[in-house]
């Protein structure tokens, strides 16, 4: 769909701006790569891929919400953190049970938010801000404010963080879940209906699409993927508390936006977000190596988000 549109459309200013932006990003990346000491090393590439995996899994899940026209979720960081906590706590029941329980919890949390948004038309941003507050409160309440560590004597979870064939396990998980979701979004009825819902809600309603069910699915998938990332984050850090919330929410949203997905829904793809996640991880890594402070890193991310939102909008409008 999108590709046909690009080929037939005459060249516009917005395209030039976008091309210029991509060229600029590429130039900055290449320049940075060449001049940053320690950037072009095998171990650093692995670090980038690992960082991109944690954020990337969350971000590709989030993309379903974006495509469905429900903007984004502001509860992802909290979902990831409590998933890591629940995973490490339930490890005493065995590795498989812990993973399944955590994923089920994630799916449920997302599905409930999706129901409120889909069935009653509640504002997705505010609902997810409220859900984030609820999750933080619950997490402190149930954990008594302490961080969760894996039960003594259990080591099965270590496989989730160990390298396989030279790359950390989360990287493979990232690739596999991205491919699965990309296929689901392109090849299944669910995927196509999500695109239609995001593209035109009125038409989707007129066509009697199951809007509630689709929204439950979108938030459920996003939260399920976030919980999966939480499992990997928990296994990698072997210690989970609300401190893990960190910047996952914003990084995931930034990845989806930088990939060029239309914020208003209907246009974009899972692959775009995956690339966006790798780009964000690359830039963060480069800034870190060059000694930029926390503030500098946040600032650069913010500027990238604003510029991309403006450019994506210009391109969408020139269609």
């Amino acid at each position: 769909m999108a590709r046909v549109g690009i080929e037939r459309r005459p060249f516009r200013v917005a395209d030039a701006a976008l091309a210029l932006w991509i060229a600029m990003l590429a130039a900055v990346t290449v320049y940075g790569a060449a001049t940053t000491t320690g950037f072009l090393t095998v171990s650093n590439m692995k670090a980038i891929l690992t960082a991109a995996s944690f954020v990337g899994i969350i971000a590709v899940g989030l993309t379903v919400i974006v495509l469905s026209g429900n903007l984004f979720s502001l509860a992802l960081g909290q979902t990831a953190a409590i998933s890591a906590m629940v995973f490490l706590y339930t490890l005493r029941l065995g590795l498989v049970a812990a993973i399944l329980l955590t994923l089920l919890l994630g799916l449920t949390i997302g599905a409930v938010q999706g129901f409120v948004v889909g069935a009653w038309g509640a504002n997705p941003i505010i609902v997810t801000i409220g859900a984030a507050g609820l999750m933080e409160g619950m997490a402190v309440w149930l954990s008594h404010g302490q961080s969760i560590v894996p039960p003594a004597g259990q080591t099965s979870w270590e496989h989730l963080a160990n390298p396989v064939l030279g790359l950390p396990a989360p990287v493979y998980v990232f690739i596999v879940v991205t491919v699965i979701l990309a296929v689901v979004m392109r090849r299944t009825r669910f995927g196509r209906q999500i695109y239609l819902l995001g593209e035109n809600r009125t038409a989707a309603r007129a066509a009697a699409l199951p809007i509630t069910l689709l929204t439950v699915g979108a938030f459920g998938i996003a939260s399920l993927y976030t919980a999966g990332s939480g499992v990997l984050i928990g296994a990698t850090s072997a210690n989970a508390s609300l401190l893990l919330v960190g910047s996952y929410t914003y990084d995931a949203i930034a990845a989806a936006l930088v990939g060029g997905n239309a914020v208003t829904g209907g246009r974009g793809s899972i692959a775009r977000t995956a690339l966006g996640a790798i780009f964000i991880a690359t830039i963060s890594d480069m800034l870190l190596l060059r000694g930029y402070s926390t503030g500098g890193q946040i600032l650069v991310r913010g500027i990238i988000v604003v510029v991309v939102v403006v450019l994506t909008n210009l391109r969408e409008r020139s269609r």
Binding site: A122, I126, G130, G133, E136, G137, W141, I253, V309, N313
Partner: protein, 336 residues
């Protein structure tokens, strides 16, 4: 069709709801001595107004953006930047610090509002980027750590009790609320604001200067975050870039929505928002008196936010109506 029905039906219960909630909170505060041995004193009322001073204006500013049909996610970092700029520039003269903080807010507001109005962008992603940019600048200005404000007397003066229950800080907030109430109710700008939130296309056709108003709305919301942020930093004699998450945002969004501001835009006023802020402030005071741990407050605020969002959800009444029809209680539908 259904929107017309809704706008006619809602106001009756909806307009009184903020005050009913406030009344419930005050009764709950009065009942505290029954549960514990604690007697409620004027100091508690002072605390409530201090809380009002710290967050009330953010709720008012956010409420105004919601009335205009937009949203500003950047208020929580603008709050921090306001404090940081005031502390860094106000060492000699506190008024200069306030002026600098407000100046920074105008720059942020004009930039965000200009982008949103000029390119017709959705305000959520723009202000999310703005949130990150402003937070990053706050970190850079503070060199990633808290900055102390040496002029302690300013904070003491700002928080000195006036008539036992007020302080300069809370009187400033209350004064601005009075002005906002008058402006929103009696000036043309108030009507125009509701118009662009209710039906933007119609407002544009009717000659409302939509773009200029939108820029103004985002300037107001940045100012409403920066001023209390600056005053609070003077009061605490410190400014911190620490990402306190969406605490300020959660509090003010909940307060505005409890105060009768509709998320679909076009509805709400300053008095209602004030009632919403007071309700939450009384609640915080009750929790403080009961010595509840922090998570209780975050559970209650989060739960309230979800609850009011559901109450304001545009399709909620429709959903219930269709469900009722499904269970064959059709009397409900007979025209009044």
């Amino acid at each position: 069709m259904s929107t017309v029905e809704r706008t006619r039906r809602r106001p009756r219960g909806g307009e009184l709801a903020p005050y009913a909630i406030l009344a419930i909170m005050i009764v709950a505060l009065a009942l505290v001595p029954v549960v514990t041995q604690y007697t409620v004193r004027t100091a508690n009322v002072y605390d409530i107004f201090q809380n009002f001073a710290s967050y009330g204006l953010v709720a008012l500013a956010l409420g105004i953006t919601i009335i205009a049909g937009e949203f500003d996610l950047s208020v929580s970092s603008m709050y921090l930047l306001g404090g940081m700029v005031a502390v860094l520039t106000g060492a000699g003269s506190p008024m200069l610090g306030i002026a600098a903080a407000l100046g920074a807010a105008v720059v942020v507001g004009v930039t965000q509002g200009g982008l949103i109005a000029g390119f017709r962008l959705n305000s959520m992603p723009v202000t999310l980027g703005g949130y990150l940019v402003v937070l990053g600048i706050t970190y850079i200005l503070g060199h990633n750590k808290s900055v102390l404000y040496d002029n302690y007397t300013v904070g003491l003066r700002l928080d000195e009790p006036v008539l036992q229950i007020f302080s300069i800080r809370s009187l400033v907030s209350l004064g601005i609320f009075v002005v906002a109430t008058l402006v929103l109710r009696y000036l043309r700008v108030g009507r125009d604001l509701r118009a662009i939130g209710g039906d933007r296309r119609a407002a544009r056709v009717a000659g409302v200067p939509v773009d200029r108003l939108l820029v103004g709305v985002f300037v107001v919301s940045a100012l409403g975050a920066a001023l209390p942020g600056a005053l609070l930093s003077y009061s605490l004699a410190t400014a911190s870039p620490t990402n306190i998450g969406f605490d300020v945002l959660t509090f003010s969004a909940t307060a505005a929505l409890i105060g009768g501001v509709s998320l679909s835009g076009g509805k709400g006023g300053a008095v209602g928002i004030a009632a919403g802020v007071l309700s939450l402030s009384v609640l915080q005071e009750i929790l403080a008196i009961l010595r509840s741990p922090d998570y209780v407050s975050s559970l209650i605020t989060g739960g309230l936010l979800v609850a009011v969002t559901i109450v304001w959800a545009p399709e909620l009444s429709q959903w219930f109506r269709t469900t009722r029809i499904a269970t064959s209680v059709e009397d409900e539908r007979t025209p009044a």
